[in-house]
């Protein structure tokens, strides 16, 4: 929950509210996670443009109209069946990158031929100390558990 005060000094500022789209504290984009920032600052930032692009992707991919299972192409109607991967890593060099923003219907997991591969890649990512959660909820581990 990013927060800013709508006072006189920022009324005319061009602000952007990033969604909570970076669950990994070790990701270079984490500083943008769930923050409301000045667009000028974002544009000048080394990772600003990338953060904007991936934030927009996250917004679009998780919008109600786009809750479409990547395996079946069908709409996920039940929230209990909805699995959304979110931004797992912003590093294109990582294998995990290709699973970003994947939408799955829990009922179709048996059809997912990359299932074991994803679990292995995700587990290796954690084991390599590339992931850190802010609190006790383990985001990536939870995804592994959900699809296993």
């Amino acid at each position: 929950m990013a927060i800013h005060f709508a006072n006189n000094t920022n009324e005319n500022q061009d602000l952007y509210s990033f969604p909570a789209f970076v669950p990994n504290m070790k990701d270079v984009l984490y500083e943008f996670n769930d923050q409301t920032l000045d667009l000028g600052y974002i544009k000048k930032h080394k990772y600003g443009e990338k953060a904007l692009q991936l934030a927009e992707k996250a917004i679009n991919a998780s919008s109600p109209a786009n809750r479409i299972c990547s395996l079946s192409g069908d709409f996920v109607k039940n929230p209990q069946d909805y699995i959304f991967m979110g931004l797992l890593t912003s590093d294109e060099e990582e294998e995990l990158y290709f699973y970003n923003f994947l939408t799955l219907d829990r009922n179709n997991l048996d059809k997912w031929i990359e299932r074991k591969h994803f679990v292995r890649v995700a587990e290796e990512f954690i084991a390599s100390d590339k992931w850190k959660d802010l609190g006790e909820f383990k985001y990536l581990q939870d995804l592994i558990d959900q699809v296993s």
Partner: protein, 198 residues
């Protein structure tokens, strides 16, 4: 006296200290709820006690990210509300003014409120929050895909809010607690519920 001109009383300090004590913090909420005729606070207090009993005061509670800060209750909230507060959402770049979706009737069960707010979030993809309005009524409110903008005096308490995906509580969620002068709030993210406090 802080920078807003409000003083921090001994009761504020004691209140804050109690918030950090497992079970006692919940009992305090129950007491205050009964004293003030606030069923929601009674229910929240009971929830905290149960949570603390089952987790020994730690599990599922995300602690430590914001380690300091003395709660000044409604005083700090009033200070912030006087400026107007935008609570940015977990799903976007557009903030819209608070819209009341539903007044929560007296005696409502927390489970029903949680189901309502989760359902509304799922249907719209927008952030929702459970608040106490300026007139004392509890309500479910919504914003835009970018968050909820609260104007001066619109709300007195923010009990919790939703993340439309399973994205966990963020540093911003902790900062919001501090800036709103509250000690804790619920964050509903996907099928998960996290209680965060400082």
């Amino acid at each position: 006296m802080d920078d807003s001109g409000f003083s921090i009383t001994a009761e504020d300090v004691a209140d804050t200290v109690l918030d950090f004590v497992p079970i006692a913090g919940g009992v305090k909420d129950i007491y205050k709820g009964i004293r003030d005729g606030d069923g929601w606070q009674v229910a929240m207090g009971a929830g905290f006690v149960v949570l603390d009993v089952f987790t020994l005061g730690s599990a599922s509670l995300v602690k430590g990210a914001v380690k300091t800060g003395v709660k000044v209750g409604g005083k700090a909230l009033a200070r912030n509300a006087a400026r107007g507060v935008n609570v940015a959402s977990s799903t976007g770049g557009r903030v819209l003014p608070m819209t009341v979706q539903k007044i929560i009737p007296q005696g409502s069960k927390i489970s029903d409120i949680v189901n309502d707010v989760k359902g509304m979030t799922w249907m719209t993809g927008n952030e929702h929050a459970v608040v106490r309005l300026a007139n004392g009524q509890k309500a479910i409110v919504s914003g835009g895909s970018g968050g909820i903008s609260f104007k001066h005096g619109q709300i007195r308490t923010l009990f919790g809010h939703t993340h439309p995906t399973s994205a966990p509580p963020s540093l911003g969620d902790y900062n919001a607690l501090r800036q709103l002068g509250q000690s804790r709030q619920y964050v509903l993210h996907g099928g998960q519920v996290s209680l965060i406090r400082h």
